[in-house]
């Protein structure tokens, strides 16, 4: 068995050229293990990650680097290992076949069946023995081992050949390791947690000397209404007057205006337009008509720019005050409207860019005489700035959209490696480690864990190979969530208007590792308790029943029974946008 394991490991060592450097498995609080095969994948907020370093893949990558760098010694060792691998596989299979022949059911073995299997085993063994010259270590070791095969069956003689070849592979591996060490390759594994506090490095046992982060358990066990929810419940009747939607879109209130404000450098463009105008007005030229033409068209561009500026200000104002959200109930709608607005702004910029381009290509600048070059340069510069900023605007907007749907976006290349991240030689890399998210400090759904594995060479300033994984964290396990809502109920079997009243629901949320699902659909089923006045006697009645929720519980509907009025009802309700705490079914 031990030999089989050794053999397996050795075989792996020569077959991992394209494999990933690390294999990460999520262990969630319910005890489930999930292989995280993709580069970006949502994980539960309280999970542990088991990180296995694929040392064979690392050495294979390094070997490929060495070969591409012209190392003939490595090339020859790898070629030798490949040959050994094929021989070892053949003999191993032949030994197994021979064993199976005698292990198969029945009392006899036909020699007709035996002959080819015997031949295959012998040929496989012979081809290995002949690999090594007389006097070689392989032969000396074989002579040492053979006297002890008595009573072990003839397969043992071939297992010795197998073991000795495995030893030879190990020797070749050691030689390779020596060459790798000589070339100065080393490995680093680092992790960061990206939250509202910014980006913080995380400690990984065995890979750095960082201190462990603060312990924090994302608490899902709040099967009660928070004080804020209770206050909200008391004032439900004035819900529609008092409703403040800022909470609904709190994530976006900061992001959306920022996207608009930061993407377009208004001052720079304004200055550029002023310079163009100044230069063209100051131009002394005989070609008066041409100059007038340019001035007129520049003025048109300036007018369009001023309209665009005003629109931009309006949009920034609109999204800062969340006016953009007043007509919407879901984040997806808000985002859609925002993207529409961005597209309009982008279209306006494109029109101006086209105008400038048209101006530059249609005007006969040569006719203007001296000083023409600076004006042409000014226009080209304005054209470039606007074009780039239009691109930036769309880029930032898309980033904002992705942030909402998939969590934070990270520029992995910009993350700095602390001095405390150990530089591990290939021989000293720990086989595995566990990264416990509990030690990532306070965190919220949508934050991101980022893991980066790197192979470096000597003093080079950038890694030879980098593998990045980022994992948005979310409340992925099944959990229960309490909500308050304002609902409208329609009594069954009587002619009655819709009756409004407060409602508390306890909702079961299904397991999901999709951020988009959690942020938008997030279906829940459960029970509700409500208070209506079916009798119109100004005395609240107690009612309760089943509820189904959609769109992150903003829309709830179901059936219930008014116990005081002794009557069933259908209802539909809207969740009041206040934060609630979900409850995990799996956690303590």
């Amino acid at each position: 068995m031990k030999n089989a394991i050794l053999l397996f490991i050795l075989l792996l060592s020569v077959s991992n050229v394209q494999a990933q450097l690390i294999t990460i498995t999520e262990m969630d609080e319910s005890g489930n293990h999930r292989l995280l095969a993709e580069g970006r994948q949502a994980i539960d907020i309280n999970s542990k990650l088991n990180i296995v370093v694929n040392k064979n893949a690392i050495t294979s990558h390094v070997d490929s680097e060495l070969i591409s760098g012209g190392s003939k010694a490595v090339d020859s060792l790898i070629a030798k290992l490949r040959v050994y691998k094929s021989f070892i596989q053949r003999l191993d299979a032949a030994i197994q076949q021979y064993t199976l022949l005698f292990d198969a059911s029945g009392d006899t073995v036909s020699t007709i069946l035996l002959a080819p299997i015997l031949r295959e085993r012998a040929q496989a063994g012979q081809s290995i023995v002949r690999l090594f010259p007389e006097g070689a270590r392989f032969h000396r070791r074989r002579e040492e081992e053979l006297p002890f095969v008595a009573g072990k069956g003839s397969n043992e003689n071939f297992r010795i050949i197998l073991r000795l070849l495995a030893e030879e592979i190990q020797f070749a591996e050691n030689d390779l390791a020596g060459l790798r060490k000589q070339a100065g390759y080393y490995f680093q594994l680092a992790a960061w947690f990206v939250s509202s506090r910014g980006t913080e490095p995380l400690h990984i046992d065995g890979f750095d000397e960082l201190a462990p982060g603060d312990y924090f358990h994302f608490e899902r066990n709040q099967l009660y209404l928070t004080p804020e929810q209770l206050t909200e419940l008391q004032s439900l009747n004035s819900f529609f007057e008092d409703m403040d939607e800022s909470n609904v879109f709190e994530k976006f209130a900061d992001v959306l205006p920022g996207i608009l404000a930061k993407a377009i450098d208004e001052e720079l463009i304004q200055a550029q337009i002023a310079q163009v105008k100044s230069n063209i007005n100051g131009l002394v030229t005989q070609a008066r008509a041409e100059k007038e033409n340019i001035i007129a068209r520049t003025n048109e561009i300036e007018i369009k720019w001023n309209v665009l500026r005003q629109d931009m200000h309006n949009l920034i104002e609109k999204y800062t005050r969340n006016e953009g959200a007043t007509a919407t109930l879901t984040k997806s709608e808000l985002l859609r409207f925002f993207m529409d607005d961005i597209t309009n702004v982008n279209r306006q910029i494109s029109t101006i860019v086209d105008d400038i381009k048209g101006l530059v290509t249609s005007v006969d600048f040569q006719a203007l005489g001296a000083g023409v070059n600076s004006i042409k340069t000014d226009f080209t510069s304005l054209h470039t700035i606007l074009g780039k900023q239009a691109q930036d605007l769309l880029g930032h907007a898309r980033e904002g959209y992705q942030f909402a749907v998939y969590g934070r976006q990270i520029n992995a290349a910009a993350l700095e490696l602390s001095e405390e991240i150990l530089k591990l030689s290939i021989d000293n890399i720990p086989v595995s480690t566990v990264l416990d998210l509990h030690y990532a400090g306070k965190r919220d759904p949508g934050d991101v864990l980022l893991v980066k594995a790197m192979i470096w060479k000597g003093e080079e300033t950038s890694p030879v190979i980098t593998e990045v994984r980022d994992y948005p964290v979310m409340n992925a396990l099944p959990h229960i969530q309490m909500n308050v809502a304002y609902s409208f109920a329609r009594p069954i079997s009587i002619e009655s208007n819709w009756k409004g009243g407060p409602l508390v629901s306890i909702l079961y949320k299904f397991k999901s590792h999709s951020l988009a699902y959690r942020n938008f659909m997030d279906v829940g089923i459960g029970l509700h308790a409500a208070s209506y006045d079916f009798n119109n006697d100004d005395t609240p009645e107690f009612a309760g029943g089943a509820v189904l929720s959609l769109f992150k519980d903003y829309l709830q509907a179901g059936w219930g029974f008014n116990f005081n009025a002794n009557r069933g009802y259908w209802f539909a309700g809207l969740r009041i946008p206040i934060p609630t705490a979900p409850v995990s079914l799996a956690g303590s």
């Binding site: 074989r142 006297p147 095969v149 008595a150 069956g153 003839s154 003689n157």
Partner: protein, 138 residues
């Protein structure tokens, strides 16, 4: 011909058949009986210490399991079986002079596939195992 081998894990103390030295017909009969079965044989010739040690080593290398085809025959008086030996197929022309071999390896079909030369030195375990392997390749 032995078309079927009875499966057994029975271990034998020895899979070495030493032919009698004082009864040539019996030696021939025993040798023929072994050839008649589908076995991979090392036939050691001579009564020297080297021959005895070679037969002992070959016996170890059989693995000792009864059902397996590896067996060893030691013919201390090579002349007793010479009439049979010279009739064996030798497609490789390994034996040109029957005074030279210390041992020969015979395949399942009784073809000479290897010859260990008698040169005054003790054949190693590896050399004898290689002879078995050569006979099994057939």
């Amino acid at each position: 011909m032995r078309m079927l081998i009875f499966k057994t894990d029975s271990l034998m103390d020895s899979k070495l058949i030493v032919l009698p030295i004082d009864d040539p017909p019996e030696a021939q009969a025993m040798f023929l009986e072994m050839l008649d079965q589908d076995l991979v044989l090392i036939v050691v010739l001579g009564e020297t210490k080297l021959a005895e040690e070679t037969a002992r080593r070959a016996d170890i290398l059989t693995g000792g399991i009864l059902a397996e085809p590896r067996w060893v025959i030691h013919a201390p008086i090579r002349e007793d079986i010479m009439d049979i030996l010279i009739t064996l197929e030798d497609p490789g022309g390994l034996v040109t002079d029957w005074e030279k071999p210390l041992a020969v390896a015979l395949s399942l079909t009784d073809v000479i596939r290897d010859m260990i030369v008698r040169d005054g030195t003790q054949p190693t375990f590896s050399r004898i195992d290689d002879a078995f392997i050569s006979a099994e390749v057939d």
